[in-house]
Amino acid sequence: MDIQIEGLTKYYGPQKAVDSISFAVKTGEILGFLGPNGAGKTTTMKMITQYLSLDDGDIRLGGQSVKETNLKRYIGYLPEHNPLYQEMPVYDYLAYCAALQDVPKDRINDRVREMIRVCGLNVEKHKNIGELSKGFRQRVGLAQAMIHDPEILILDEPTTGLDPNQIVEIRDLIKHLGKEKTVILSTHILPEVEATCDRILIINRGKIVADGTATTLRSQAQGNNLTRTRLKGTDTDSAFKALQSLPLVKKVRIENRDQQRFVIESNGEASEAIFALCVQQGWILLELTPLETKLEDIFRDLTMN
């Protein structure tokens, strides 16, 4: 089931929380939803889950508009702070969610056991949710979202509060699920997006500022290559001038004067020209490293203004 969002808008009073955004998510795609706090991520997710009404625009799930049909049963949702009934035992809670999501009566026990197995809740299944650690509570949250085997999963910061091992487990679980389902997940942890998601969507102040894979975002954001080089056998200033005059090179920055380390910004690959320059001048080349733009930098570039 694919998701199509067209011109989605939401106001909180006079303030536009989501400003006519449009995007589509294909079946089997995991979309990473990024943005600073208050950018409109959660609001957008709440509108997709039909918790909030739309002020303008439309959301279509598998071609059907949420404004015309009740499509809640196709969605599994894990809200931001994972609110759960503290006084309810895990097993009963999952059975309750299954019943509310129209799982047939004779299948409820099977589904609950299945979810307990998949989410690793077996030891804790008879405890009250309030007695669980944060990691286990998060698993209960995931289990309730997936209990009716929904075609769409909306996960709002699914890995907050988990330890590194659990994060890897949950990521693998999401990746595994994402093969047949449509997943939208929001997070603040940038490496997580690269590790889990097929596509990244960055929003800021209610508007989409970037959309693409991690690789395309990198090339779009900079449009040029960064190369670090370290030389020997020359003085810093003349090397600086020589590097600056190379073709393709846009900007040279001295990173360390004593070690003669430079960062070179260029249109396209400059390594070859730098090497040739060193050979020609008889300088010793100690380092020549292409630098990758970090996702963090792209994120900061797009969302700081």
Binding site: Q50, Y51, K72, R73, Y96, D102
Partner: protein, 237 residues
């Protein structure tokens, strides 16, 4: 309708899981038992084989206990955010409110069922008007239904349980005293209207065994209006 029942069952279970149900049952039976059999204008003082003493005490006990039961039903869900999880399941806002209403009403009915021994005992003591007694029980259920409607509405407009409790009591006091008192001092249409709005006008006739459709409509209307506004309040998010 099935969803309403699922939610009602969970609400009822959560009353028993959190011990609230036991507390309410013990207190309800304690108060009503004390004033029906031992103190005030009790059965022996009145020397009448009827349950009017019980109905009057039960009315007041429920007046205080029902807001205590309903205060957390929506307010707490709003405060902890579980309402978001509930409403993104395949249920409508109305089903959620109706489920909670039904869950609470079931607990009250269970409490009333525990007083059947009172009924049996009094019927052995003298010549009892069974029709009037059954009508009185029905009156208590209808009265509770109206209080639950009011309580749910109070719980839906705030996420603070104490505010919900006090608000429900204030609205309850209006129906219980204020309209009654004001109607005494006014004449004409307004006096008539205030008299009609007062709960006692309707409850008094039912508990004596006079079942009038006007009274039924009155209690159903209060319940329905409470549920309707509660639904409206949670829709507005």
């Amino acid at each position: 309708m099935e969803k309403v029942w699922i939610i009602a069952k969970r609400e009822l279970n959560s009353f028993f899981d959190s011990l609230v149900a036991y507390l309410i049952l013990v207190a309800f039976l304690g108060f009503t038992g004390f004033f029906t059999w031992l103190q005030g204008s009790d059965v022996f003082f009145r020397k009448q084989a009827d349950l009017l003493a019980f109905f009057e005490t039960a009315k007041w006990t429920l007046f205080f206990f029902i807001p205590a039961l309903t205060m957390r039903m929506l307010a707490e869900e709003k405060k902890t955010g579980t309402i978001e999880l509930l409403l993104t399941k395949d249920v409508s806002d109305r089903e959620v409110v109706l489920g909670k209403y039904l869950g609470c009403l079931l607990l009250v009915i269970i409490a009333l069922l525990f007083t059947i021994p009172y009924y049996v005992t009094v019927s052995r003591l003298g010549n009892m008007d069974h029709g009037a007694t059954i009508s009185g029980y029905l009156g208590l259920v209808l009265l509770s239904s109206a209080y639950i409607g009011i309580g749910l509405f109070a719980s839906s407009v705030t996420n603070n349980q104490i505010v919900a409790f006090i608000l429900a009591l204030i609205i309850g006091i209006c129906f219980q005293f204020i309209f009654d008192m004001l109607s005494g001092g006014t004449t004409g249409f307004i006096g008539e209207l205030l008299n009609t709005l007062s709960i006692n006008t309707h409850f008094d006739s039912i508990k004596r065994g006079v079942l009038d459709s006007k009274d039924l409509i009155y209690f159903f209307s209060i319940s329905a209006i409470g549920i309707f506004f509660a639904e409206l309040a949670i829709k507005n998010r």
